[in-house]
Symmetry: C2
Subunit: 726 residues, 2 copies
């Protein structure tokens, strides 16, 4: 209207007109004239600041950041300086270090002849702070000096707002600057090196999320702004992955061998899918929760996964899935974001993960402070190598389920499954022992000199090969009517359905699994222990130093441990004699049921170690199945404030932690040197690790990808404790 | 060979020949001559007695009766008397009272001119003890006197062995006599009346099984000897039942109305089968465990049931079931024994149950001693009337599931199930309120003046109408291919399958049920509470005295109770105002999860009462689902001595009872007058009732048929405690 680009160019007349307009708007909205008394104006301005404490955005902000609502705010009243007094005036914002990379350099923007709003509003394009050096060299020199001074004073990178009025520098505000994960770590480490802060302070300043963010390939945030996900599921395993959609594990494995990038898409996965999962870039399932097979294995492999994406309808026969109108066919490229639980059509650009040299340095400092040991939950030599790279001091949990099915061993599982007598089962198991011995040798060799806890079989045999018995029934009827299968084939299926229905658990989590299997079918645990202990014996013979610990899952009663211990001792003796070698193998149990925790003193008498399985312990303490809870009601509980957080993600400090404390105290009373750890997923979660430290565990064990975070949090917990004592 | 019938008739020559034969056998077996020195003979005889301590039968006996193996035995050496010195000699056995009926009369057998072995061996038929009166009147008189004396001395009915040598009575042995349930009760009550023992002693002397045995119709033991069961299952609900096999609940209901006796045979039952179950004499299912729907409902109804009889293959279409080669068709008569878990083809004779007058008297004595209150788990007016007859002082648990489905209300459940919004659910629930109000009125009227605990809905909606979602899939494919059903019908089924699969729990026991339902869908609990409280208000208006207590199931977190309490208070206020009547309704929770027990102090602040749901509490404390445990491994655990007893039948005193004790202590600390009870099935089990007494509960609640036993055991626990203090 006035033919100018910036407000500074407006004439006095035009300004008067604008002021008039503003006054009219004020009167219309408030019903009174704009006050002309400067004191009234000031008073109103102060009131407005106070009132802003209760606007919805402020309330939301406080809720997110857990700031109490009754804390209140202050108002500073001070003289105004003007950046729009001419071209030797101006205003700017600067960071004392680069907030994106952490480099030590003045970083920011400057706008000459302007006020602060002009920078914020983005009407004029500001100059880089470097330009200030040429335009107002004295001011720039002063700013550099002040920046240094403020940083030394506040001991952190500062975000400074300043105004220059006729060549004179005024600081309007300084505060700790926001920064990226990478910058946060670099700044903390650099400042400790520069002597501005101590190593302890550097450790306390880095947040677990900072470390975590470095460890996963992410979708480029810019690309995310431009695309919408076609489906959402649970963020089961973080990171981004791009690949061709493949619906069969065998095919994924084949393509993987040829170097193709694929995303394995399944209704849900079973141990039989491990090969395909390993070969895929990422996993997408339509069913299952945060502890479904797909989720647990993906996290252990460090592979991005989105699970339980119920919006996608998979048609395995047509090899396609649908979301609403969108059809994604085999071979189409998709991108999944396991951090957010999102699925995109097409290839989105991603950012590489890496632990920076500063992160590595920081973590080495952490190791000086922390009291908790750090172990890994890892099942394969590859995972263990990764864990060692990340700083694991041992393996807290090796699951053995996969050793029953990998490399074509499924046939043996069917043999066990269909066996009618102990002899038949033993015969089938005999075939497994040499194969599993080899598996154990590989593992113990990678971890040579470091403890490896081997958990005995935890799931029922049928669950090793069928995800869902209902599929059998569908298959049966389909075969019967559509394919006209031969009567032999149908008979076989019918038999299998009967068999599985008869042994299927009504409540799998509380069913016939874990050590119950090893008591009803002692030959199974005997075979597993023989394979593991013989592996250790052979390595010892070869001059290696295998440190094997055998762990019994799912105990609730000390007699269970006594029963299996008799088999353990028999096998240990037999193997020692066979190889003529002295073996020191520890025997212990998971503490997964409330009863095991309550009877910890009696359990401790029979054990060399405990490992808290806090996922099951949480399930049973609450009486909630995790899958059902996360599917059906945890969300409502959080929304309705019935729960402050999801106890399957963060250890429940009121119930589960109480049981753990009780168990630790009573176990140590009976056996002071008993080794106590945690191998539930909580072992990798920051707030839970702090509880583990407080409760007095010896170590936490987490999937390899969570180990760096665990090292940080363990150090922070130790430092906090030290500070509280001082 | 010697032409005689009894050994007493043998000549001296013949005797010598027999002795020679015996000597030869002895030499052949032992390799040495039979010792002729009487002292050596005596020594050998003594050794034989000592050795008998370790024969397999003795070991088994001690195991059954829990007698320690290191206790040892004694040998008495005494002079021999001879009952075979002629016809004024003889031997016999007598009871001081009739061991079958308890009548006060000498009861037993006598054999003249014979030794003890002759009576035991059964070669000669003995005379009734009455005959002794005529044959040897003096001896008889003496025996009567001695019997009286011994009974007074030992204060119990005696089982006496005696020998008469030439007219002189010698007593060989006296011990407490074995007796039937009926006799045990009569003898105890009579002896107390006669002043031989005190009332306390009479109560202590009757065993819970004695009372229990009187309460169930049994198969005549003689008939049982002559028939073999065709199938076995779990003894889900005791008693015998005879009737025609019927496979549909509707048909069972119809035939029941016409007075026909039927046995309802189903794969398993759902709340929809309640009508048929009520009309049937007994229930037989092929699947399900001791807490399956069929089992729980049958016990509550006091109806014999055999469940989980997996050997029977039911073909619902053909209306028949098979066990091996045997085919039982609709209309065929079978007999089931719910006490033993057996199924017989045909009608076996049964014995009527009744509480004798002595049993009633004994139970009234019990009420003077016991400290535990006795309530009933009962869902219908009929069950409650039965419970009152048996002496219930209130209702500890009314389940409300049936109020959703009975009398054609299933359609409303489908409406709720398929509702997409809260409004749609509320609309459906509105229809239920007046119907359920009527149900509650009937119940509260029967129990007028006595407390009635109403448990809010505990299962998910779909579970009210489907026993097994898999059946839907079978149905779908069958319809699709066999019946060529219309596409609309198929679409409906497909929709239902999708719906149910989406909301079905992976672990129903720990899934989306109990108070989780009431928090996610508050309108459901609101409707139930409104119906119940309005019923109480209307009765109060009519001058009655309804005592209503509202119970929230399955809590794990105090906030759950706070959330639902807000609804409770709102409804209570609204109803009080609507009817203008002051209502005193208690609000409480079940303690079913370990976490609820651990946080009992905080829970108590929000509650007027707790009721321990020990079935779930046992499940979660162990991490075992009862159905799976009893199907798959409890049996092996007992056999391998991993467990001393089944913790689902008898309260686990090491784990579950510990949690209960903790909860009771901490709840009373916060609220000393909080009302504490148990409504798990353990509440009717003798050893568990004793634990409840020790833990300090106010009452136990059990199904009506277990109430007489509960009264007895509660009295015994109080007496034992008193005795220990003295």
């Amino acid at each position: 209207k006035y033919g100018v680009k910036y407000d500074a160019e407006l004439s006095a007349e035009a300004m008067k007109e604008v002021v008039k307009k503003f006054k009219e708007i004020y009167k219309k909205e408030t019903g009174e004239d704009f006050p002309q008394d400067p004191f009234v104006q000031l008073r109103r301005a102060i009131e407005t600041v106070f009132k802003s404490w209760n606007n919805p955005r402020a309330i939301k902000y406080r809720e997110i950041h857990k700031i109490p609502h009754d804390m209140g705010t202050a108002v500073n009243v001070q003289m105004m300086v003007f950046g729009n007094f001419g071209w030797d005036s101006g205003t700017g914002v600067c960071f004392t270090r680069n907030p994106a990379t952490g480099e030590k350099e003045l970083y920011g923007e400057f706008l000459p002849n302007a006020q602060g709003e002009d920078v914020v509003a983005g009407i004029r394009t500001p100059y880089s702070i470097k330009d200030l050096k040429d335009r107002l060299p004295d001011v720039y020199k002063q700013l550099v000096k002040v920046a240094e001074l403020l940083e030394r004073h506040y001991k952190d990178m500062q975000d400074i707002e300043f105004t220059v009025e006729k060549g004179k520098l005024w600081l309007l505000q300084t505060r700790t600057g926001k920064r990226t994960a990478m910058a946060a770590i670099k700044i903390a480490v650099d400042m400790a090196r520069e002597g501005i802060i101590t190593k302890e302070e550097a450790i306390m300043r880095v947040k677990p999320e900072h470390i975590q963010q470095l460890l996963h390939r992410q979708i480029d945030p810019k690309a995310k702004e431009q695309h919408r996900p076609i489906a959402r599921g649970l963020p089961a395993s973080p990171g981004a992955a791009v690949g061709k959609v493949i619906f069969s594990s065998e095919e994924a494995e084949e393509l993987g061998k040829r170097g193709e990038k694929v995303i394995l898409v399944r209704p849900e996965t079973t141990p039989e899918d491990i090969g395909g999962m390993a070969a895929a870039q990422g996993i997408l399932t339509a069913r299952g929760g945060m502890t479904s097979h797909a989720a647990v294995v993906a996290r252990a492999m460090g592979k991005p996964a989105v699970v339980g994406a119920e919006m996608i309808h998979i048609d395995l026969e047509k090899e396609e899935f649908r979301v609403g109108d969108v059809v994604v066919k085999k071979g189409d490229v998709i991108t999944i974001d396991g951090t957010a639980g999102e699925v995109y059509v097409g290839e989105l650009p991603t950012i590489e993960p890496k632990l920076t040299s500063e992160a590595l340095e920081l973590l080495s400092w952490c190791d000086e402070y922390r009291k908790l040991g750090i172990r890994a939950n890892a099942d394969t030599p590859e995972e263990m190598r990764r864990a060692l790279e990340f700083g694991a001091e041992g393996v807290g949990l090796t699951r053995t389920e996969n050793m029953f099915v990998k490399g074509g061993r499924t046939d043996i599982v069917y043999e066990i499954l269909l066996a009618e007598t102990e002899e038949e089962r033993r015969k089938a198991l005999e075939k497994l022992i040499p194969l599993q011995k080899q598996d154990f040798k590989e593992i113990l060799e990678v971890m040579d000199g470091k403890p490896v806890i081997v958990r005995l079989l935890d799931v029922q045999f049928y669950a090793l090969v069928f995800a869902d018995p209902e599929q059998l029934i569908e298959q049966y009827y389909k075969k019967k009517y559509e394919e006209g299968a031969g009567s032999e084939e149908l008979m076989r299926l019918e038999n299998l359905i009967h068999r599985v229905r008869a042994i299927r658990d009504a409540d799998p989590q509380m069913g016939f699994r874990a050590c119950r299997l090893g008591i009803v079918y002692p030959e199974v645990y005997e075979a597993q222990m023989r394979a593991a202990i013989e592996a250790a014996a052979e390595l010892k013979k070869e001059g290696k130093n295998p440190i094997l610990e055998i762990m019994v899952p799912g105990t609730a009663e000390p007699n269970e441990l006594r029963f299996i211990r008799r088999i353990f001792e028999k096998v240990l003796k037999e193997v020692s004699e066979k190889y003529d070698v002295e073996l020191d193998v520890k025997y212990g149990t998971m503490i997964e049921s409330p009863r095991a925790a309550l009877l910890a003193d009696e359990m401790a008498e029979i054990c060399d170690f405990f490992s808290f399985g806090t996922n099951d312990l949480t399930q049973f303490t609450f009486g909630w199945s995790r899958d059902d809870a996360e599917r059906a009601f945890i969300h409502a509980y959080l929304k309705k404030k019935v729960l402050p957080y999801n106890p399957f993600q963060t250890l429940d400090d009121k119930g589960v932690a109480k049981l753990m404390e009780w168990a630790v105290k009573n176990a140590r009373k009976v056996k002071p040197d008993i080794e106590l750890g945690i191998c539930g997923e909580h072992g990798g979660e920051p707030r839970s690790i702090e509880i583990c430290h407080k409760v007095g565990l010896d170590y936490v064990s987490a999937s390899p990808w969570r180990i760096p975070v665990a090292r940080l949090v363990a150090a922070q917990a130790a430092i906090k404790e030290k500070q509280q004592k001082e």
